[in-house]
Symmetry: C2
Subunit: 173 residues, 2 copies
């Protein structure tokens, strides 16, 4: 059987788009895939994640972490977002894989604004957020693959993954 | 700062080894990292996972799934195992990243034995386990990175990741 003859991908509709954006706006954590800096191939780790219209998709990581070294060598990442805090069987929960490009936040004023947002998102981060090895990384989504249930997969493009103003901004004043 | 001068990696001890094996033996799901077959770079998705001394680390996936196409092109994978079903803050839970080699189970007798085990692991799989596009994939661990808490990282080798007889075999008769 050819790889391309049969596909479980359904035509993308507004319901799929809304579900993908809901997953992004509600995300607190993600599984981050980077290219393994020592061995090649993938390397997956757990990160905190915040996605909002105002701030984009963000994490805070230490330069000393293995995945940070992977990001420096290759900014192509994958983010798995699912309702890991949800009840019941995680295999039946909708989940979204984002293909994204990682970019380190280097601007001081931007970092200060994100610092305040992040401390509302992850209060425990106050213990390490000011360590010099910790930096914000912004993920720019390029495309997505939504699994909305058995046999229900949808492809999302960059525009589908753009949050409307106000979405995800649960920490705005 | 050089990448290699400062490391948060601690010397591997028996407590770390035991924790890594506990995570493997208790795993019901994992985040699977493969190489994205269309774009290169990583691709992360949710899978069911079973690890036991008797059966090894296993999943059941459809040939039609995007990650299956990735596996066919490159068998190098990463598996993130954490206590996603646990209570409290997932960022404080111990988690293990396995670097592994994927291999499709092609032997008919072995498949039959694994089928019975898998239906005890994931009862809902009875709905699709006999579809012709579904196959078992065995993951052979090569190395691991354990995150046992903030600043507590440990490297595990292949031997560290070998389950003792009986471990994980909660479905044995």
């Amino acid at each position: 059987m050819s790889d391309n003859k049969i596909t479980p991908i359904r035509p993308t509709d507004d319901t799929a788009r809304a579900l993908a954006r809901d997953l992004m706006a509600g995300a607190r954590i993600a599984a981050l895939g980077v290219t393994d800096p020592d061995h090649g191939g993938p390397h997956v780790s757990r990160i905190a994640l915040h996605c909002s219209a105002a701030a984009g998709c963000l994490t805070l990581i230490s330069d000393l972490a293995y995945h940070a070294r992977g990001l420096r060598a290759d900014p192509r990442v994958s983010l798995l977002i699912d309702e890991t805090g949800g009840k019941g069987d995680p295999l039946t929960h909708p989940r979204l894989t984002l293909r994204a490009q990682a970019e380190k936040v280097t601007d001081g004023a931007e970092r200060a604004a994100l610092r305040a947002l992040w401390l509302r998102h992850v209060p425990k981060a106050k213990l390490y957020i000011d360590f010099t090895d910790f930096h914000f990384i912004r993920f720019h989504p390029l495309s997505g693959l939504l699994n909305a249930g058995f046999g229900k997969a949808y492809e999302l493009d960059k525009k589908d993954l753009t949050l409307a103003p106000g979405r995800g901004d649960r920490f705005s004043d």
